[in-house]
């Protein structure tokens, strides 16, 4: 079937089976590789994108069901002024990641957190990210990167 999908501010005409999860539409139809396949069943967070600003596990939601809702992927994550989002700069500054396979999912989850909780405590960051898995043990650097970005966004 064909349907329209609003991704990173652009409307795309998509031709895919109606049960195709958003993840595969992003990666295979739109060439956006920031959302990554980790488990396919909503358990790891590697595929996290924002839908209307809220974290969404793109591996379990059929793209055709999104309707008017907007989708933002890490590729479309921008600061207020359109420059690279402070979270991206902060993750690089903290060298937050080893293999970094999990990182875009972390960044997107953090972006949603900072929207509604501009100065999160460490415990709030832990709670927000608790269902995002990292096997490399980059957790503490990820937390520091989020704190650094928060600092910059809401000094």
């Amino acid at each position: 079937m064909t349907f329209t999908l609003d991704v990173n501010g652009t409307k795309h005409a998509i031709d895919a089976d109606d049960d195709t999860p958003l993840l595969y539409v992003l990666r295979d139809e739109l060439g956006l590789h920031g959302a990554r396949y980790g488990c396919g069943v909503g358990q790891c967070g590697a595929c996290t994108v924002l839908s209307n600003g809220t974290p969404l596990r793109s591996c379990v939601v059929p793209a055709s069901t999104l309707g008017e809702r907007t989708v933002t992927t890490v590729e479309g994550l921008r600061g207020e002024d359109g420059s690279p989002h402070p979270l991206l700069r902060a993750f690089i500054a903290e060298q937050a990641g080893q293999c970094a396979y999990c990182i875009p999912g972390m960044v997107m989850t953090a972006a949603a957190l900072l929207k509604h909780t501009p100065r999160p405590t460490e415990a709030q960051i832990h709670a927000a990210l608790d269902a995002n898995l990292c096997r490399c043990g980059s957790h503490n650097r990820i937390v520091r990167a989020i704190q650094r970005a928060a600092e910059e966004l809401a000094p």
């Binding site: 295979d28 396919g40 069943v41 080893q98 293999c99 396979y101 608790d130 096997r135 980059s138």
Partner: protein, 736 residues
């Protein structure tokens, strides 16, 4: 150094071949008769390592591959220093069987010590060669020439010439002699500094960087239907129905190997699921209910790897003994394995995240019964692997499917369930220690025995080590894995204690039968062995009524070992830590492989008195890795290793029933989450000028031991079975 290495590699893949300039892969010693340094021994030609392009791009070729450990950045730092060029000028090609020098497997924390040494010596020699040429051209003695970012100039504003003017685009045709000494630590600009990783920006911001992201033209999607249990044979499958599904190109069956190819990924996933439901298997696996009892009952290959008979004949005052267990544990990469292969009717092109691209390509060639040179393997990064996971098997799957669908790159993506159920696990182990002590409680005789299935079943050129290779109609038998041996060892890695005990005996019982599939997991046997040795040292200290730190120091002569322990204790505030009920502190120490990095970990735990929930509050890690090329990269790996080890040690054991693996997702094999991760401080003891020692696996054992020892300190209960769970703690407390 090109900041977009991975992107370039992903997007241009084989285009990089245009740079190919491989010298003959001669084996041999340096002409002077001495051994060449590191991996230069196997790749003597300087052209195998470095190429100066006519366009001013300097290409470094390495057989080592990026696993998320930052190796390409570190090698770039070493190379740029010796050649006197900016990092930005450097382009790196890694793990390409047609271009890169053969350097075996990227594993065992050897990449900087072996691969890095080769890069350093090769680059130093290329620089010397270029200086000689410049000296002739400029008529200035080489000693007086200066190099700035590849431009060689005479002093005081005289004439100058660039590397690329001298040899741009041409082969050097020189074998390394290993006689040009690399720079002294003080003369280096890049090595020793926390240079940011070149590959991280792209990976963080979602650029195509992983083999999972590689999308060549005409690519199709393959999935393999895996047997439900080890050794199951396929009786039937409904290929006809599946081949009528939308987008499906073909179903591939060869013996027990069953796969499907479809135009789109989701179509392939749905087709594979229908195919799996239709498949009838004959299962035969018999998995032991108690892996430890099973291990002890098997015939084993026994070897005494260390024996020192005590010369004094005082009888020990008392003898203590204990048995420890380490379960089967997973690598558990966050991104399941993936590979892309294309068959042109004669040759296979393969993109893989294997740690051993050369050997795996050779194994695949033999599986396909084609000449080894007909498989062109190229590394692309995958999710962190921490050892031998499904990467090589996914490559073999892609090869078989590609052969059935020529002239289309076939991408095989393993599912989460495939990875959990089919990857080779870290082996279960039984670890026995017995010590005879004197009146002060000091060790006189140390007797250590271990039982384990193998820790190394990497492809190594054998198709029988590939899951697919074993499942074909004409199957390749799996070779019987060996034991390793000195100096790296395998199951018995770190089984020989670094402590100076007057009498010592260490015996390995290697069981080569493998009811569960096993291979190399970060640290191999060192994780279990260090847990056992360091837990027992704590038990001995307690029996002797001596502080565990003091007890360790008493038995150590190695000054660097003592220094990491002392530094860790100091930074942790060992003696000042207030005694709070239900809280405890613990220490663990080892020198990885007894030849790589020294690492000491101190940590504090808190135990809930009613639920027995265990929380690690904070950890301090101090390591001595010799001269460190990238301190931030080393700290990142050491901390990551510590956290991963806490995850293994607090939560992880592969679950199974009598037939099947039942840990098939993250809910049936949970790992540590953000709220369970402690704060970690890492400190490196700097040793400029000392040989670089690998750090990647150094923290696995000490962290596990520090955890067990802290739990004992908090509760008075000694847990000897990994993982150290609240359930086990509750049971042990009740039993008291």
């Amino acid at each position: 150094m090109s900041g977009d290495i991975s992107r370039r590699a992903v997007l241009q893949g084989s285009l990089l071949l245009a740079f190919a300039l491989t010298g003959p892969r001669a084996l041999g010693a340096a002409p002077g008769g001495g051994e060449l340094p590191g991996s230069l021994r196997r790749n003597r030609q300087l052209d195998a390592w470095i190429r100066i392009g006519a366009d001013g791009v300097v290409t470094l070729k390495t057989g080592k591959v990026e696993l998320g450990q930052g190796i390409l950045t570190a090698l770039g730092q070493l190379c740029a220093d010796e050649l006197d060029i900016h990092l930005e000028r450097l382009h790196i090609i890694s793990g390409d069987t047609a271009v890169s020098p053969y350097e075996g497997t990227t594993a065992g924390s050897n990449s900087v010590s072996e691969g890095g040494k080769a890069v350093r010596y090769a680059a130093a020699e290329v620089r010397a060669l270029l200086l000689r040429m410049a000296s002739q051209q400029l008529r200035v003695p080489a000693e007086r020439l200066r190099v700035t970012d590849g431009t060689i100039s005479a002093p005081s504003g005289g004439a100058s010439v660039t590397y690329w003017n001298l040899v741009g685009g041409k082969a050097l045709n020189q074998a390394a002699t290993g006689t040009v000494k690399p720079k002294a630590p003080g003369e280096r600009k890049h090595a020793g500094r926390a240079v940011p990783r070149v590959d991280l920006p792209g990976k963080i911001s979602g650029e195509p960087a992983f083999v999972q992201d590689y999308r060549p033209e005409r690519m199709v999607h393959g999935r393999v239907v895996r047997a439900p249990s080890y050794g199951a044979t396929l009786e039937s499958a409904d290929a006809a129905t599946v081949e009528r599904m939308p987008g499906v190109h073909t179903v591939v069956r060869d013996g027990d190997f069953l796969g499907v190819i479809a135009a789109k990924e989701w179509q392939a996933i749905k087709a594979a699921s229908v195919l799996a439901q239709s498949a009838r298997w004959k299962e035969q696996a018999a998995l032991p209910a108690d892996p430890y009892a099973w291990l002890l009952k098997q015939p084993s290959r026994d070897s005494v790897i260390e024996e020192t008979v005590r010369v004094t004949d005082v009888a020990p005052e008392r003898t203590l003994e204990a048995r420890y267990h380490r379960p089967y544990q997973m690598h558990g990469a966050i991104g399941p394995s993936c590979a892309v292969a294309e068959w042109d009717g004669e040759r296979l092109t393969l993109h893989t995240h294997s740690q051993s691209v050369f050997d795996t390509s050779a194994a695949i060639a033999r599986m396909l019964r084609i000449p080894v040179e007909h498989v062109h393997g190229m590394h692309l990064p995958g999710s962190g692997c921490y050892g031998h996971n499904g990467a090589d098997d996914a490559a073999a799957d892609a090869a078989l499917l590609a052969r059935a669908h020529p002239r289309h790159p076939v991408r095989v993506q393993w599912s989460r369930e495939d990875e959990h159920a089919c990857e080779p696990y870290g082996s279960a182990m039984v670890l026995d220690v017995r010590a005879g002590v004197d009146a002060q409680g000091n060790v006189l005789d140390w007797n250590y025995e271990l039982w384990s299935t193998p820790h190394g079943t990497r492809p190594g050129g054998h198709p029988g080590n590939l899951l697919a290779g074993r499942s074909l109609k004409a199957p390749f038998p799996m070779p019987t894995p060996g034991g390793g041996g000195p100096p790296n060892y395998s199951a018995d890695r770190n089984a020989i204690p670094l402590y100076d005990f007057p009498g010592r005996k260490v015996t390995t019982h290697l069981v080569t039968q493998m009811p569960l599939r096993v291979s190399s997991l970060r640290g191999l046997g060192a994780y279990g062995n260090v847990f056992a040795i360091e837990s027992f040292m704590d038990e001995l200290a307690h029996a002797a009524k001596v502080d565990p730190v003091e007890y360790r120091l008493r038995h150590l002569q190695d000054a660097r070992a003592k220094a990491v322990i002392q530094k860790a204790v100091e930074r942790f505030g060992w003696s000042q830590t207030p005694r709070v009920p239900h809280r405890g502190r613990g220490i663990g120490f080892a020198r990885y492989k007894n030849i790589a990095s020294y690492c000491a970990v101190c940590l504090e735990v808190e135990v809930d008195a009613t639920t027995h929930a265990i929380r690690v509050r904070r950890a301090v890690l101090v390591a001595d890795a010799g001269e460190v090329v990238n301190p931030d990269g080393a700290a990142n790996q050491l901390e990551g290793g510590l956290i991963q080890s806490l995850s293994w040690s607090l939560k992880e054991a592969v679950r199974h029933d009598a037939r099947r693996i039942t840990s098939r997702d993250w809910s049936t094999y949970p790992i540590l989450t953000f709220s369970e991760v402690p704060s970690v401080e890492v400190e490196l003891i700097e040793r400029p000028g000392e040989p670089s020692l690998g750090v990647g696996e150094a923290s696995q054992g000490p962290s596990a031991a520090a955890l067990g020892n802290a739990l004992f300190d908090a509760t008075g209960v000694r847990l000897r079975d990994l993982p150290l769970t609240p359930e086990r703690l509750a049971k042990a407390r009740e039993a008291r």
